[in-house]
């Protein structure tokens, strides 16, 4: 795996390395004949310049790091697709990492990206204490949070208002007449906490005072099916389930079906994200639209500006959630 290098191209075309470099980079001050000779030599050798060496010199790798919890959740797949669509035009490559909701893996991912000298980072933070964020801040790399905000820190982000998401869900389920509502939440991250606050507060205001056993986080390594199964087995008897995201709602539906529970007649289910598959499910899934693809696009655009204008460009986007009522509730 030894690539031919600039020196090889120079030798083959009988010029110096400097001239070869200039010819290859389309600089004005090279004679047409020389340029042609160099280009042909490069072609013949199958020369592929090393952006490692270039980057060492220029300080840019034309590379952006993206850290999400897992790409197998279509929500993040869509976010990444949005990011890609923006970055592609500027010829940036994406280095992808998954935290799997584990703060340690998140930190390690950020560290690896920094070592690789990515030009910027887009992060969907896990930890509620902003450890990864602090680390980024300290290293003064341009970065943007996506999908989740960091607690207590004024960092650039593109998120959907989490408190409202929780409130919207509670409101909707109350309106449907539910009084025993289980919240299957994500764990650790700040968005999860905000959604929980919005959810519980709205319930309280409607006179529904549920104990803490009605909010169940799904911890690292746990499956939604187990968590829900345990709840059902201990006889909590919810009439509705609100899930942190559609992906989790789908898993919940799977467990309910397995047990012969009818949706929504016995138990209603709703999620968040408005995945496109939601309307095709049986029954179609009630959800909350969070402008999924706008998150990816927006975060990439902000990051681009931050990387290009070194004067401390800053922008935060807070998207408004919207209830999508379907037959599962």
């Amino acid at each position: 795996m030894t690539h031919s290098k600039l020196r090889d191209v120079a030798e083959r075309s009988g010029v110096s390395i400097s001239t070869a470099s200039r010819a290859l980079n389309n600089r004005a001050d090279v004679s047409p004949a020389t340029r042609a000779r160099v280009l042909r030599a490069a072609e013949e050798l199958g020369y592929v310049p090393s952006s490692l060496a270039k980057g060492l010199w220029s300080g840019s790798t034309k590379t952006v790091g993206v850290v999400v919890t897992t790409i197998s959740n279509p929500f993040y797949a869509n976010v990444v697709t949005g990011i890609e669509s923006v970055l592609d035009r500027e010829a940036y490559n994406i280095v992808l990492n998954s935290s799997h909701e584990d703060p340690m893996r998140e930190l390690r991912a950020v560290r690896l990206l920094l070592e690789q000298r990515v030009d910027g980072i887009i992060l969907a933070p896990v930890a509620s204490e902003p450890t990864a964020v602090e680390y980024l801040e300290k290293n003064k790399v341009p970065y943007v949070l996506v999908g989740r905000r960091a607690r207590n820190v004024e960092v650039d982000h593109v998120v959907c208002d989490d408190y409202s998401i929780g409130a919207l869900a509670a409101e909707h389920l109350i309106k449907r007449g539910h009084k025993r509502i289980l919240f299957i939440n994500s764990s650790q991250n700040y968005s999860a906490q905000l959604r929980q606050e919005g959810f519980c507060q709205t319930l309280l205001e409607a006179g529904i005072d549920q104990g803490p056993e009605w909010v169940r986080p799904v911890r690292i390594g746990q499956r939604v099916e187990e968590v829900l199964g345990a709840v059902l087995d201990e006889g909590l008897n919810p009439t509705a389930i609100f899930c942190f995201c559609d992906q989790m709602a789908i898993d919940a539906m799977r467990e309910l079906k397995r047990r012969g529970v009818r949706i929504p007649d016995d138990i209603a289910v709703m999620g968040v994200d408005n995945l496109s598959v939601g309307e095709m499910l049986d029954p179609p899934l009630t959800t909350i639209d969070v402008q999924n693809s706008q998150m990816g696009i927006g975060s990439a655009q902000i990051l681009l500006r931050k990387m290009q204008q070194h004067d401390g460009y800053s922008e935060q986007i807070n998207l408004v959630p919207r209830l999508v009522e379907r037959a599962s509730t």
Copy 2:
């Protein structure tokens, strides 16, 4: 965005750059006192070593390029997750690129990855002429194909037998009594051609001789909904639809529902990939399991061996497809 460098660490700890390097890399021949001083200086400065500079020296970037058509198809999201799970343990980072079924973008992606000097590449090839593959071959980078094989070329891969997939689908639909079967295929790639051969050949052997208008490729920029809509409008009247993948089958179902066509009573639908959401759809989707996640894991394992053993390690895995009958057919 100026990171502190080894020289800064050296100066702060009062040693030479060489010694600082050795201390940081845990070499044996450094006195404990010196090592401690260097480590503390690095800590205080928040020193993050540049893998660019390291890579330039060592020839390895601890980075693997992955090119799929699009990460928003859960099939590829799962493949990438599988790859990640293997590579993560070896501290390799993944550089992700999408071809969007466009041979030009595929070639550009490979080129960019080569410039970045990734240590290896995993590719789901688009083009049926193996241009990207030829390019890879010429550059002698370790690489593995995933999900799709290249025509006429003996390159390492992890795929599911495409001819059998087409045959299995045809067989199943024939058994269900269908005689007018539409194949909504992908375009360009070799797997699509093989599936088509298996599909058409099996139909022929069963005495069903459909014209070429019964196979419809979805070209770049086209949506399944349009293609299917056009077919329905021109009055081809299929009683069953076989789609290249589940994702496309879901889109087809969406269009059918929009038109009030009942599935499977009016038209049956089946896909390929066995996405986990398939069983939750309305109706549950008949599909063909292709050992999705094994593809990612297997391709990453093969690539690891190729990168580590420079003696031309080679391996091909051909997975066996399996019909998953559900209510959509």
